[in-house]
Amino acid sequence: MAVAEHPTRLENPITAAMPPTLLPQPCVLVILGGDGDLAWRKLLPAVYNLNVDGVLPSHFAVVCFGLPSTKEGESGDADEYIRSRARDGISRFSRQILEENHWNDFARGLFFVRGSFNDARAYGQLKAKLIEVDHQFGIPGSRVYYLAVPPPLVETCVVHVRDAGMVADPEEHVAFTRVVVEKPIGKDLDSARDVIRVVAQAFAENQTYRIDHYLGKETVQNVLVMRFANSIFEPLWNQKYIDHVQITVSEEEGLVHADPATGEVVASRVGYYEGVGALRDMVQNHMLQVLCMVALEPPYSLTPDVVRDAKSSVLNCLRLMSPDDVKRDVVRGQYIEGDVNGQLVAGYRYEVREFFKSRKQPIPPKSVNSTTETFVALKLYVDNWRWSGVPFYLRTGKRLPKRASEVAIQFKDVPPVLFNAHPDVPLEPTVLSLRIQPEEGLSMRIASKLPGPKLRIYPVKMEFNYSSSFGDQTPEAYERLILDVMAGDATLFMRRDAVEAAWRFCMPILEAWERMPALNLPEYQAGTWGPIESDRLMESDGRTWRNL
């Protein structure tokens, strides 16, 4: 289903022939939850970097909204409070160092409105502030609302924003309104539909940008370029030549972030992660989105909905698993104490207990012996002509030996004749590997003759490294995505049908786990590549996970 692209906007004759993605439109970025963790770590540093890079429109401002999370924010000048918090976040997390010259310019257009998310009057104050900022910066009433709030607050915010008359008609041709919705979009299919419905109460689908920051990464976008801008790959990109695909997203980090110097806990994601787990946190969104880029059919154009149609088609072709399939093809695990990078780290359940202890809250019964998976590996199939019979192996986990994300396309073996005639020394298969992080780039492993009179074949790697060729200053994913929202380009955002299709695929797994005894949750030592069952999943197919 293709939805309408963007309504005809009032055309600027000066920019009429220029590509729209290069032209973010004048607007106010309204961050609901603007002094929260996401804004502090990611959003405000991203906007600062966009300012430094000179890609923001001249007619632009940021207005943050929410109840201050610190004591200092509760009184005094609200704008100064958010500026001080933003400055702190930028100093710590920004890709580019904070320079006074840029900071002063950025801070001049940064404002804060204090208010509770469920206080209608506060939205009235927000509206008044936005009108004032519009006038001050010559902004025609256009808004990007960024919902940087916990999932239970999404409905409250959306309804109040609508009731305060702060959403322009989607067909309005002077001022636009767009909303950015963060993950998680629900905890299952039903709750995802609820989130979608809730947001749809105020915003049309073409005003809604469901963000998945993985899609903002350069290397993920490069998958499409590599496939469709090079003539050699696409003819081989199917079940005739590809043996299997491996997608790995591994993280060294656990759920608790400690200061490396003092060992003191500085942040914990346990509150969010407990009861959610790796399947919901990584597979349902990031990994299936990456899989879509690898598996989609050539879109007939690069317009947002054509690309998104192609991605939805992949998700609709995912083979749904029976309970027996889940038992056989899906492995989950949870880390226990181990060693990561030479440091002894605690197990997940310990971190959960400590989290509740630090909050002086009783541990919920379900979390006493938590069965939340911090690792998942699975085999899935895309049941269409191109991918018939080609397994896709996905694995992701926390507290693995290193941070590495990649897609590896392993091609079929050459026939067992000539150079591959000795079954005891089989040739290494050809592998195309797309590294998403770190050291973004791609490599291809091919067989080559070793020099000398004897015929010896050895696998060699051809490498392309982003930083060697293009330098080391690749914009952060959030920078790219915020810019896309301002430019009205939804290509890299998830459409509602894609969200639902991804949940439809995950639901049989979640339901099967729900029914399975929790005792079956395998454990793995922190600093290893997951439970042994993950290796067995591959070995049972005569394959192995790649060494990353």
Binding site: N12, I14, N51, L56, S58, N101, F137, S467
Partner: protein, 377 residues
């Protein structure tokens, strides 16, 4: 942006026979690898730099490390000197290493080819043997003459390249330069046919990117309804040597907004003025030279109506890294835009990756030609 290149590992002043250049490049790379460990040979393009005096050559050579730090390339620096014929082409070789992040080192190569008099026409032959196959080839015309006056050397070099980069800053006869270049550009576009892709890029146009964006946003009908239709006068002020930059900005505005030039008048070193017919009536444009300051546009004043009353938009350079629109006659804060600092080398480095044909540039240059005709008579 990667760090600046390190010092060369070999003395550039020792000439190398032309047929030994590749061997010497490999030798220097091995030396660098011994010294600095793992060093990758990275080349995204061939860059042929053309200089016509030693001063130009030295200036260009000084920019090469900055260029290859942004865009790794094999650089062929051609020094085509006037005067008596030399016996042939003399070549020098230099390999540079630079850090690329993640503790990696990359190296790029520079070959300097020098000739004088009639021997300069042998330079394209030397170039052909040194180009890295399967990579885009660019020419940087590193002189202060318009490329239209590049003669047979530039014509020959341009034959099989994908991009010709030139810089219109500091042209001595702006009107003649603009007129001749506009004609030359149509040849570049036309003769690049038959499946061959070729573009010409003026660095001054690239410098104007943020001014063009700022003016577009200042006059956006959503932010300033009715402003475009009510423009009565435009004044552009520029520092010394930036008259072509101002000229290109006026041409851009005229092309985008459908203004037809009526008359033009020059007061040398002071002002150039035009009268235009816009769809909504007649208007005046003046570009004024400031006595001092950097060679760039400093201010653009647009007299128009805002919120239904006579007003003006002042577009200003606010320090080295920021432009601002300041509305006058109505309230409001300055609307600012960061201009990332960019040296000439960085500008060229970025231009090397930017090979798309820009129809707005071509069309604006066509208008620039009309403006030139109006003042040349």
């Amino acid at each position: 942006v990667t760090s600046a290149a390190k010092a060369p590992v070999a003395d550039e002043q020792a000439p190398v026979p032309l047929d030994e250049v590749e061997k010497e490049l490999s030798r220097q790379l091995r030396l660098l690898q011994k010294k600095d460990g793992l060093v990758h040979r990275v080349r995204m393009s061939n860059l042929i730099v053309v200089a016509r005096t030693r001063e130009e050559a030295n200036r260009a050579a000084g920019d090469v490390p900055g260029i290859v730090a942004v865009h790794p390339a094999r650089v062929l620096l051609l020094v085509a000197l006037p005067g008596a014929d030399t016996s042939g082409v003399t070549s020098y070789v230099r390999v540079r290493g630079h850090e690329t992040g993640h503790d990696r080192q990359a190296c790029t190569e520079q070959v300097t080819l020098e000739a004088a008099g009639a021997s300069t026409l042998r330079l394209p032959f030397a170039v052909r043997s040194l180009l890295v196959g399967d990579l885009p080839t660019n020419v940087w015309w590193a002189t202060n003459q318009p490329p239209a006056m590049g003669g047979p050397l530039l014509a020959e070099l341009s034959e099989r390249v994908q991009q010709i980069i030139y810089d219109s800053i500091g042209w001595l006869e702006p009107a003649r330069g603009v007129a001749a270049t506009a004609v030359w550009l149509t040849h570049i576009d036309r003769d690049g046919g038959a499946g061959r892709w070729r573009v010409a890029s003026d660095l001054n146009w690239r410098r104007l990117k943020y001014w063009r964006r700022l003016v577009a946003q200042a006059l956006d009908p959503a932010s300033a309804p009715g402003a475009i239709e009510s423009i009565r006068e435009v004044v552009v002020e520029h520092g010394p040597h930036a008259v072509v930059q101002a000229w290109e900005l006026v041409s851009f505005l005229a092309q985008r907004l459908g203004w037809q030039v009526l008359t033009g008048r020059v007061q040398p070193n002071v002002e150039i003025a035009w009268r235009f017919m816009a769809p909504s009536g007649e208007l005046r444009v003046r570009i004024r030279r400031l006595e001092q300051g950097p060679p760039e546009i400093r201010r653009l004043r647009i007299e128009c109506a805002l919120q239904g009353q006579p007003a003006a938009l002042e577009l200003l350079a606010q320090g080295p890294n920021r432009l601002a629109t300041v509305p006058q006659g109505v309230g409001g804060a300055p609307r600012t835009m960061t201009v990332p600092p960019s040296t000439l080398a960085e500008l060229i480095g970025r231009q090397l990756s930017d090979r798309e044909r820009d129809p707005v540039f071509t069309e604006s240059m066509s208008v620039a030609q009309s403006l030139a005709r109006s003042v040349l008579g």
